[in-house]
């Protein structure tokens, strides 16, 4: 990958009188610091609460520093492995596993189908190809709620109600709209001459896909994987509606245990669980974020 930051960025504050430079920089940094604080505060508060015993939270409220003497990491452990949610006392680990079992296959499947669809729709002409592309991308604009009833019907018919496999199926199909759109728009920028040359060389549909298109695809694969992974992991509606009890993904489970009404709220454990639930998308975004922005904005393959 070429380094994109080789040029000096334009600095409008580089010139001018000393006074002007100091005041203007002061304003810029001051404003940025205030906003940074606003954005970081909730995360910080939640993070600190995971370390505090419940009595401490109840006594001094949410917003307080942990007491050095009572500070402990055990709520992380409880949240992960032993806290009781809806009758089972396995913490969120079980739902974590559910989420991974749902998100990883659905991400892989929808990305693969999207790559194939994008390749077909951008590089092969056939009757009504435009119409088919239009119909597929229509799914991007369709409100999720509209699909709830049809999906419930389909899952019921297939015997996949209240299963992780059912959620994988739903998320794969729902995701195809996005992945097809992304991949098709990316592949359009691959010169048609490459395909023509490969056809003259004797390569067929699959060989062109495997040897020419796929090796050019890493930027868009990263984009779709990040998009799909975070989207499916964070998804709440389908998980809540189509699964219950031990089959729920973590997003639904967290809501279930925070609102389970079994007496007192374990804010510290909930906080730990929430942070754990947020980690995988965060990780995948940090790992691939550089390529994400690049893949979305650049189409060129040269």
């Amino acid at each position: 990958m070429a380094d994109t930051s080789t040029h000096e960025q334009f600095d409008p504050l580089a010139t001018g009188g000393m006074r002007r430079r100091i005041t203007s920089k002061g304003i810029v940094y001051g404003a940025l610091s205030v906003f940074a604080l606003i954005y970081i505060a909730p995360l910080l508060i939640i993070l600190l609460n995971t370390l505090r015993p419940l009595e401490d939270i109840v006594r001094t409220g949410f917003i307080a520093l942990p007491d050095a003497e009572t500070m402990t990491l055990r709520y992380w452990g409880e949240a992960w492995g032993s806290f009781c949610i809806g009758g089972t006392c396995e913490g969120v680990s079980r739902f974590y596993k559910n989420s991974l079992l749902m998100t990883i296959p659905a991400t892989i499947l929808s990305t693969m189908i999207g790559l194939l669809n994008g390749y077909i729709l951008s590089k092969w002409r056939f009757r009504y190809d435009g119409l088919i592309f239009g119909l597929i991308t229509l799914g991007v604009f369709m409100p999720q709620q509209m699909t709830l009833l049809p999906w419930a019907f389909v899952l019921g018919k297939l015997g996949l109600s209240n299963t992780i496999a059912g959620l994988v199926f739903v998320h794969t199909v729902q995701g195809i709209s996005f992945t097809t759109l992304f991949c098709r728009n990316y592949f359009v920028s691959i010169p048609d001459d490459l395909i023509k040359a490969a056809r003259i060389d004797g390569a067929g549909f699959w060989r062109i896909f495997r040897r020419i298109i796929l090796p050019l695809s890493p930027p868009i694969v990263i984009v779709t994987v990040i998009w799909q992974f975070t989207g499916i992991w964070n998804e709440f509606l389908f998980g809540t509606v189509f699964t219950s009890g031990g089959n729920q993904p973590i997003t639904s489970a967290i809501v279930a245990f925070s609102g389970s009404g079994t007496g007192e709220r374990h804010y510290n454990i909930e906080a730990a669980a929430v942070i754990m639930a947020a980690l995988p998308p965060l990780f995948i975004y940090i790992a691939g974020g550089k390529y994400f922005v690049r893949g979305l904005t650049q189409g060129a393959v040269k």
Binding site: D193, I200, D201
Partner: protein, 367 residues
């Protein structure tokens, strides 16, 4: 034996007909240039020969085998693209072996072929590089290498030199010619550059608006263009077209320029078939067939007084922009013979080289 035959070919996209009744054949080992302005259908024709576009009606035969419905890979052809179309993720070597890999040729043979072609094109040191690490000229070579490893019945070139700078283009042009002489394969070469067509081809097909205007040797095309379009397209600076009338005198046929001083430009006897006195014609003269009278060594009986508006020295020759009777005339003369701007001079015309065209049909009159 004819290596490529195209018979009554038509191609249309819906209502739009892009190729009309194309008839063309190439003998084995011939170098055919398809030339014409943008949008004349030459690239479409090449794509049809390659099998990348379908035929609406008519026949395409390669070595007497009808290939209308054959896939590109079954036509035994190789093609060089304007964009080179090198596979960006593969090394030069992999680019060259990809086609052989598709045809399941044994590894050892692939290696030998690549070595032979790399030697031929002098790209041996580049074999392990990626296309992005090559210069334009090197990419061009690799693109040709990829075609050469195939040993096909037909080579197709789609404007292969138009992405190169002027100097490199001339170099690669002579290299393509050398290569063709050495390999001796039938070649179809699409270009919009008439100089490339003239220098490379054994026969040129001039196309315009989807119609094949003329298909002949470079010399015939240049000296005896079938119509005004071919005459104007081939040659640079372009041929002058003057409105004129045919006159007949004791000395035989001649022409006078419309609006001029009535000077009769006598036509050679072998140019006068099918002419009638008083007939309007378009009088076509190439710039190099003008010469200042004082410097002209041949017959100076046909002369024309012109006003020199502008002088453009190019080094080897000097281009004169002149007017006669309100019509523009471009002449190219020896730099030493060049007049000054604003002068009125007399130009002698080499009448044995002129062409007469019918003003309405634009076809060339007379033999």
């Amino acid at each position: 034996m004819s290596s490529l035959t195209i018979k009554d070919l038509r191609k249309s996209y819906g209502e739009v007909e892009v190729l009309t009744d194309i008839n063309l054949e190439a003998d084995s080992g011939e170098f055919i240039a398809l030339v014409g302005p943008s949008g004349c259908g030459k690239s479409t024709l090449l794509s049809i020969i390659a099998g990348l576009e379908s035929v609406t009606s008519g026949e395409v035969k390669i070595e007497d085998r009808l290939v209308n419905n054959d896939a590109p890979k079954d036509r035994d052809i190789a093609m060089v693209f304007q964009s080179y179309a090198l596979y960006p993720t593969m090394t030069v070597r992999e680019n060259m072996t990809f086609g052989m890999e598709c045809r399941n040729i044994p590894k050892a043979e692939q290696k030998d072929t690549v070595a032979r072609v790399a030697d031929l094109l002098q790209i041996g040191p580049l074999l392990d590089r990626k296309p992005s690490q090559l210069s334009g000229g090197q990419r061009q070579r690799v693109a040709m290498g990829r075609a050469l490893v195939r040993d096909p019945k037909l080579f197709l070139f789609d404007e292969p030199l138009s992405n190169l700078d002027a100097k490199l283009r001339i170099e690669m042009r002579s290299e393509i010619k050398k290569l063709h002489n050495r390999v001796g394969k039938t070649t179809v070469y699409v270009t919009h550059d008439q100089v490339e067509a003239m220098t490379l081809a054994s026969r040129i097909a001039v196309m315009f608006k989807g119609v094949l205007q003329q298909y002949d040797t470079p010399k015939e095309i240049y000296e005896r263009p079938r119509n005004k379009f071919v005459a104007g397209f081939m040659g640079s600076p372009t041929m002058n077209f003057l409105n004129a009338k045919v006159v007949q005198s004791d000395a035989g046929f001649g022409v006078t320029i419309d609006g001029g001083d009535g000077t009769i430009l006598p036509l050679p006897a072998d140019h006068t078939a099918n002419l009638a006195a008083g007939q309007s014609v378009i009088f076509g003269v190439r710039p190099e067939h003008f010469n200042p009278v004082h410097a002209h060594r041949g017959d100076t009986s046909a002369r024309m007084k012109v006003l020199v508006d502008m002088v453009e020295p190019t080094g080897a020759e000097t281009i004169l922009m002149t007017t006669v009777a309100g019509q523009d005339v471009v002449a190219s003369v020896e730099p030493d013979d060049a007049p000054k701007e604003g002068e009125t001079i007399e130009l002698a015309i080499n009448m044995s080289k002129v062409c007469l065209f019918d003003p309405s049909t634009e076809l060339r009159l007379s033999a």
